[in-house]
């Protein structure tokens, strides 16, 4: 029996129990405090719930609806508090991503707070004038021939006849094949013409003499005789015409600039230390 009391393990256990008793007596048992498990729902919550409802439904909730909203709100609050007390937010990928997104948004808002003045716009327009070009436009008419319906020779013949008779496009009828393509195009941007007819159609038009029947030229659909009425070359747009776009672009660039500035300054406050294999990789020349 005495041997038992002398055993070191017994000493350790007894000492441990003693220490625990003293700690409990001095500091009290470590149970969840009342505060940890208390959620106060007050007038500000009430206002928040009401506002959220009204924004969605444009009216106040009925009593029954409000009880339902409140019940769900309380449940969410409890779950949220419990998740936090279990520290689920620490090193959580979703939370991390959300915070980064929020930082990005915060950085963006730095430069956009003040209004834009006419002088800002003028200065910006001068700086970026080359971006605001009205593309070259072509006004033309076309007569369509399906790929194998007419030989080049017969199309040439039609063309010559039209030119000899000086037939204007609006006097052409019953010539060529039917198509869903328009027979005449008002001042149309070159890009739009290419998207409609394919095969870089606009570049071929730009090389043709005005006000006579020319061709045939090839599109994605077949052959065409064309009558180019007018070519308006590319030209810069006036400030007034692009004001909305300018303001949008300016805001965008300021936002980008402040974002970059924000993160550059932030990066400067941190020292990044690479260790292990990575160290070699990063500092490798």
């Amino acid at each position: 029996m005495t041997k038992f009391y002398k055993h070191p393990i017994v000493h350790i256990i007894v000492f441990g129990l003693l220490l625990a008793t003293i700690l409990i007596l001095v500091f009290g048992a470590k149970l969840p405090s009342q505060d940890d498990k208390r959620i106060i729902i007050g007038d500000d919550d009430f206002a928040h719930i009401l506002a959220s409802w009204e924004k969605t439904w444009q009216r106040q909730p009925t009593k029954a609806e409000f009880r339902k909203v409140l019940k769900s709100y309380v449940r969410d609050q409890v779950i949220y508090h419990e998740a936090k007390s279990q520290k689920l937010d620490e090193n959580n990928g979703t939370v991390k991503r959300a915070l980064i997104t929020q930082m990005n948004m915060l950085a963006e808002t730095q430069g956009t707070s003040e209004g834009i003045t006419e002088a800002d716009l003028k200065a910006y327009y001068e700086l970026r004038k080359d971006k605001y070009l009205k593309p070259a436009e072509i006004a033309f008419s076309q007569i369509y021939f399906k790929a194998n319906s007419h030989s080049n020779k017969s199309i040439e013949k039609i063309k010559n006849l039209l030119n000899v008779k000086q037939t204007l496009p609006n006097h052409v009828s019953d010539v060529g094949d039917l198509t869903m393509l328009d027979s005449s195009y008002d001042n149309t941007p070159a890009e739009h013409i290419d998207n409609t007819l394919g095969e870089n159609f606009s570049s071929k038009l730009l090389e043709l003499p005005l006000k006579s029947w020319q061709g045939p030229i090839i599109s994605a659909y077949g052959k065409h005789l064309v009558y180019v009425n007018q070519i308006t070359p590319e030209a810069p747009k006036q400030l007034e015409a692009v004001k909305t776009e300018l303001i949008r672009e300016l805001k965008y660039e300021v936002k980008e600039a402040s974002k970059d500035q924000f993160f550059t300054e932030l990066m400067q406050q941190y020292e990044i230390i690479y260790t292990g294999e990575l160290k070699k990789l990063v500092y490798e020349k």
Binding site: K55, T101, T109, L181
Partner: protein
């Protein structure tokens, strides 16, 4: 390069700050801008309509399932990309669409839509709070103080130590939420350029029931002044709901309060596991009734027939006679693949079957809930509406172009199964027949269903229905004029018969100017017989070459195939650049309600995986589909028997 860029920005910011210090300068007011954008521009109007191409279903960084997965591009980048500007993708690739779009609807998820801050603007509620004022002052001081303040704010927020009052204000569904919504509206307003590029304000109501996809995209006809009077409907109870009937209530409420208009487009139902198009009862157990069928028909004039997560026009199980039905089929299970698929679900998921069941329900309740037009969209979560086969940017950031995406990319993997990235369908866009490229004209065309879905190519398709179209109408320079005068365009209801025995349809299709030739044009009919049974039949009405049509109205001979897989190319040596027809229904019975829509099919072309394989020098894994049969689906034209 990066440093240089920063320097440019910094200089620009500095020079602007200098400008701002001149106090006498008047600041341009926002309202002045709004009126400038829409009233002073001369917009081209064509009474017989032009086709405009665009996208109605796109997610940016603001959507939780895009932003949290690494999408770093916001609203601005989305509009820029769609307009044809080069944008750097979230994975660092310089991205540019081959051809700009004419309109764009950004539809970020309404639940948890983004974050924003009021601190910078010094909103009254922020300044009323001691800590809030401290942050605000810090940020206004600029430089280091601003950085410190911002960082302190984020830290405080992440530690859950936000002042109680501010915490309430900035929790989801309140002020912060309102601001994000306003950002969406402002971006749409800023990028709207009537006549050249249309933006439509929208969001996606993300109803998910046990992983079954019930999403709807909600589109506003109105400008920001009306749209900003409400906040999007969410799905989180009790303010929000997953029940479409509650969405309709929200829509009705919006229209009544603001005098505006909204419409909803149901998401492709292929991942709804049988609850997108109920026939007896909703998923809630609520029996279908007059209220459901009327409201659904009224608020959902359109449906998404095709998108990246598969094609939803028809399913081979439902349409075994249709050799083109098994196209980009996704029938593995529900949206998150937590439940597999059984055949009994299919009838409540696919467009053609829903159109048929719509006739049945109309007979029963007096209104057709499934009287919808055809939309093709991407549902891309990369901010980039890029679904050209040779320029496909995937579904999520993880499937943006990379050498590995066709060999290793996995879209979704669960106990039920695996969906590889190679299954992604590079689709689609919607062609809208509108008189001009403005918000109102595009929306109105959508509301009257004068739209058609494409799996990507921009073929031009006209489809008219009437009782007296003739070959002469078609073979005339005024074919379109005749189309409108003697009948109705796609999306319409046939006018009552005037002595004629059967309806006639006039259809014209022109291939995409920079795309493949056409194989055939079909008219697909669905009808309800006297015994309450639904039927469908496919008619080939125009086709390339001299292939023979059989007595059943079908051309069974294949058009051929010119795909060269190694070169990722095809040739337009087969097919036709345009096809058209006037067709009379040979099996018409005036007592049977019916619908007719047209399907235009291209010759075989390489699927996006083929372009990827060539570009990255990779082998296409065995079993991966390489051949594409791109197509367009027009909105139907309905015949009402009564």
């Amino acid at each position: 390069m990066r440093k240089q860029l920063f320097f440019t920005y910094a200089c620009l910011a500095l020079s602007l700050t200098a400008c701002k210090s001149e106090k006498e300068e008047a600041v341009i007011s926002e309202s002045a801008l709004d009126t400038q954008s829409s009233s002073e521009v001369e917009v081209k109007v064509n009474p017989t309509n032009d086709v405009y191409w665009g996208e109605t279903h796109l997610h940016t960084q603001l959507s939780a399932d895009a932003g949290l997965f690494g999408n770093k591009l916001g609203l601005d980048a989305a509009y820029r990309f769609a307009k044809g500007e080069e944008v750097t993708s979230s994975t660092g690739i310089k991205a540019k669409i081959n051809r700009p779009l004419d309109y764009l609807v950004i539809t970020d998820h309404s639940d948890f839509m983004g974050f924003a801050e009021d601190i910078d603007k010094g909103a009254p509620n922020v300044l009323a709070d001691a800590k809030g004022k401290e942050w605000y002052d810090g940020m206004k001081a600029g430089g280091q103080a601003a950085t410190d303040a911002a960082f302190n704010l984020i830290t405080t927020f992440s530690q859950g130590k936000m002042p109680a009052a501010l915490s309430k204000d900035y929790s989801p569904g309140s002020e912060i939420y309102g601001r994000v919504w306003q950002n969406c509206i402002d971006a749409a307003e800023a990028h709207y350029n009537p006549g050249e590029f249309t933006t439509i304000i929208g969001y996606e109501w993300t109803s998910l029931v046990k992983g079954a996809n019930m999403h709807r995209n909600v589109l506003f006809r109105d400008n920001g002044d009306k749209a900003s009077q409400v906040e999007p409907m969410v799905t989180i109870a009790p303010v929000g709901s997953t029940d479409p009937l509650d969405l309709y209530a929200w829509m009705k409420n919006y229209e009544e309060k603001t005098g505006g208009s909204v419409l909803a487009i149901a998401h492709n139902g292929n991942l709804s596991n049988g609850i997108m198009f109920p026939v007896d009862a909703q998923y809630t157990g609520r029996k279908l009734d007059a209220k459901y069928v009327e409201e659904r028909g009224k608020y959902e004039p359109l449906y998404e027939w095709t998108q990246i997560k598969g094609d939803g026009e028809a399913h081979p199980f439902l349409s075994p006679e249709d050799e083109f039905a098994d196209y980009e089929t996704w029938d593995d299970g529900n949206l998150d693949l937590t439940q597999g698929k059984s055949n009994d679900m299919l009838a409540k998921e696919y467009a053609r079957e829903a159109l048929k069941n719509g006739l049945l329900l109309e007979e029963k309740f007096g209104a057709n809930p499934y009287k919808f037009g055809a939309i093709g969209s991407t549902d891309s979560h990369t901010t980039l509406t890029a679904v050209e086969e040779d320029n496909f940017y995937g579904k999520h950031i993880s499937s943006e172009p990379s050498p590995e995406r066709i060999t290793e990319g996995i879209y979704l993997k669960t106990d039920i199964g695996t969906i590889e990235d190679t299954r992604l369908n590079s689709a689609g866009y919607t062609g809208v027949w509108a008189e001009s490229n403005t918000r109102e004209a595009i929306y109105d065309a959508m509301a009257r269903k004068e739209v058609y879905a494409s799996t990507g190519p921009r073929m031009t398709v006209r489809f008219f229905g009437g009782w007296e179209y003739t070959k002469d109408d078609l073979n005339s320079h005024d074919a379109v004029k005749h189309g409108y005068e003697k009948g109705v365009p796609m999306g319409g209801d046939l006018k009552p018969a005037q002595g004629a025995k059967a309806p006639t349809f006039m259809v014209s299709a022109l291939k995409d100017a920079i795309g493949a030739n056409l194989d055939r044009v079909q008219i697909i009919k669905g009808w309800l017989d006297e015994n309450g049974k639904t039927h469908e039949k496919i008619y080939d009405v125009a086709w390339s070459g001299d292939r023979k049509i059989n007595s059943d109205g079908r051309v069974k001979e294949d058009v051929g195939n010119t795909i060269n897989i190694a070169e990722a190319s095809y040739e337009n040596s087969i097919g036709a650049p345009d096809l058209n027809a006037v067709w009379t229904d040979p099996d018409f019975d005036p007592k049977q309600p019916a619908f007719y829509y047209s399907r235009v099919i291209e010759i075989p072309t390489p699927r996006w995986v083929v372009y990827d394989a060539k570009k990255f020098g990779k082998e296409i894994p065995k079993g991966v589909e390489t051949s594409n049969r791109e197509r367009a689906y027009t909105s139907p034209i309905w015949y009402n028997a009564k």
